[in-house]
Amino acid sequence: MEDFVLNPQDYKIINQHILQYQSMPGALLPLLHAIQDDLGFVPEIAYPLISSALSLSVAEVHGVVTFYHHFRSNKPGRHILQVCRAESCQAMGSEMLELHIKKHLGIDFHETTSDGAITLEPIYCLGNCACSPSVMIDEEVYGRVDSKKIDQLISDLKRAS
């Protein structure tokens, strides 16, 4: 079933994080963050390692990873483009922007472009509501985004990767 096998490097990273976090109270979220920060996702194959270190069942780890929108168990594209769908951005035309982006990239939300460059995700508020509509690319927010600006940002991303 699982094609993906943890390579030795990732295995080492995950184990280092487990050692660092396992004695912390409420360790699971900080540990998952640390793993995702380094690998870009939390591989399912790592659940048994995490669960035994924290005395949890694999089901509990799976339950937490899937409960939170931020965590992913599949490898994303090289960049993550999050488009705000919340009310303030809607009041400034985010619905049109969303359609434009989907058409431009040829993908829907939660999908990755075929060249592996961009994963598209919806997000509900970036706290940039004074400058709507907003998108976030990796860890940077862009405000007052229109179709021209997003086209530029996307072509920069594709060029960079």
Binding site: F67, C125, G127, N128, A130
Partner: protein, 517 residues
């Protein structure tokens, strides 16, 4: 002596290109061999003028904005560093009407100081509240906060002092202060601004809270969408530790207070306090039954004060200037000030801190300048995705918790999102159900199933199918969710839905006369 030029590093300013503007200024100054110093400060919250560039002069700081990198050359050509004339010149920033008309208590330092410069924080009255608190016993600190009239700024508006008293009166070997920084409401950004722009005021508020209730450990539960706030808070915590404000012996008083930032993971429901505590414990963010209250059995089963960022960041000024000073602002039972966030379709968006009592109309037109699109404002949503939509006929309502309750609306966290006449309110009602379905924790049936059914029924209405029958069903469903949900997510989704239906029946295809009757 080099001339100081200020460019904000608030993430809203960055989202409009503040880094590029700062870089262009540095490059141009170097080319012209001018001696300048670029200071990356917090934002004034004048987001309609970002990127705002300020120059220090003998009269004060002169502003220029909104500036984009292409404007920089012309600024230098006009000799802006001497405060000279330029088409984008704004004069003295502190004299800009929009800013001058505000009452900035919690946001007093915003746009003035550098976020993680602890010496500047102290120069601008920082840690005065903590020093006073260290001379008071816990009961007296709690009494001061109670007397100030401060109510939870996260949205629930529960008196902060009463919550603290419950934690103080509960005996336990370990207690916690938890700062709810999971600001997920659309239209809100005041928490983010404080954490990115004046992190020490939050840290100071949390230390005081710890002294007040007898807690030695604090956690800031920060939403994962705020990476800049994370960096700034962690840097500020390290500096506060080195300076002796955090640790085993706070300012050599014998009190212990440790503080740690924990990242949330994108679940809106974790802004609900019991769900937040579950998440901090490393679990799925399922809402807990109450009682027990978190103040009695909270994080890891211990007494816990869970407070919003703004509530905690307001505590220092109350302890510094006294309960009466704060209490003197406001109206009715809503005392003090509210950091209001203007968002959506407005000309002049940004942070307006005003005493309670200011009307929605003043905020939308005097401050907001009307819609950015130039079309009439049709509706505003106050208080986030679970807040009611208000029509023009309700714009004279003063911002006051009780006055908003009277019109079946909420103030929430103080976010105001304006929509122009192009909005279809039936679509917004569908969105409210959809949002609830996406974010429901799934524990209780009215929220989990009701939200999904709501989306389906709204789809029929939007398709014009059996509209009368389906709007009756929406009302029935809303009644079940309102009365039967375990927490505010399912329980308050009816606010946007029914207010949209009641005030804008035409958008639903309902006979106007019948509904208004």
């Amino acid at each position: 002596m080099s001339i100081k030029i200020f460019v904000s590093k608030d993430s809203a300013a960055l989202s409009l290109g503040a880094d590029q503007v700062a870089a262009a200024i540095a490059k141009e100054a170097q080319a012209r061999k001018l001696d300048i110093q670029i200071v990356r400060n917090s934002s004034r919250g004048l987001f309609w003028l970002e990127t705002l560039v300020e120059v220090e002069t003998v009269q004060g700081r002169i502003g220029f904005g909104p500036i984009n990198p292409n404007d920089v050359k012309s600024l230098f050509d006009a000799d802006f560093i001497k405060g000279a004339k330029h088409p984008l010149a704004l004069g003295l920033v502190s004299e800009i009407d929009w800013l001058k008309k505000q009452e900035r208590l919690t946001f007093a330092r915003m746009g003035i100081t550098e976020p993680t410069n602890i010496d500047q924080y102290i120069e601008h009255d920082g840690f005065e509240g903590l020093k006073n608190a260290l001379n008071l016993d816990p009961q007296a600190i709690v009494q001061t906060v109670t007397d100030s009239g401060l109510r939870g700024r996260g949205g629930a508006a529960f008196p902060t002092g009463i919550k603290w008293k419950t934690v103080l009166d509960t005996k336990a070997t370990q207690k916690y202060i938890v700062c709810n920084a999971d600001e997920g409401d659309s239209g809100t950004y005041s928490d983010r601004m404080i954490m990115e722009g004046d992190p020490f005021v939050l840290i100071e508020g949390m230390i005081i809270a710890g002294l007040a209730v007898g807690a030695s450990q604090g956690y800031i539960y920060l939403r994962s969408e705020y990476p800049h706030a994370l960096k700034t808070l962690n840097e500020a915590i390290e500096k506060a530790k080195s300076a002796g404000y955090l640790g085993d012996d706070v300012l050599k008083s014998g009190h212990t207070f440790h503080l740690e930032v924990r990242r949330a993971a994108g679940a809106y429901i974790c802004g609900e306090e019991t769900s937040l505590l579950e998440s901090l414990e490393g679990k799925r963010g399922l809402v807990r039954f109450k009682p027990p209250l978190p103040a009695i059995e909270g994080l890891f089963g211990k007494p816990t004060a869970v407070n919003n960022v703004i509530s905690l960041a307001t505590v220092p000024i109350i302890l510094a200037k006294g309960a009466k000073y704060y209490q003197d602002f406001g109206m009715g039972k809503s005392r003090g000030t509210l950091p209001i966030q203007l968002a959506g379709n407005l000309k002049r968006t940004g942070l307006v801190e005003k005493a309670f009592g200011v009307t929605l109309r003043e905020l939308l037109y005097d401050f907001g300048g009307g819609s950015l699109s130039g079309k009439p404002i049709k509706a505003v949503q106050v208080g986030g995705p679970l807040g009611a939509y208000l029509p023009e006929s309700q714009f004279d309502t003063p911002l006051d918790y009780e006055k908003f309750s009277e019109i079946w609306a909420i103030l929430g966290h103080g976010g105001i999102v304006a929509f122009d006449e192009t909005v279809n309110m039936a679509k917004m009602a569908r969105y409210a159900f959809d949002f609830c379905a996406i974010e429901s924790c799934g524990k209780c049936t009215p929220c989990r199933v009701g939200s999904t059914r709501g989306v389906e029924v709204m789809d029929h209405i939007l398709a014009g199918k059996d509209v009368e029958k389906h709007t009756t069903l929406i009302r029935d469903l809303s009644d079940t969710m309102f009365n039967g949900s375990l927490c505010a997510l399912g329980g308050m989704t009816p606010y946007p839905v029914l207010s949209a239906l009641n005030h804008f029946p035409k958008d639903f295809g309902v006979d106007v006369k019948e509904t208004k009757a």
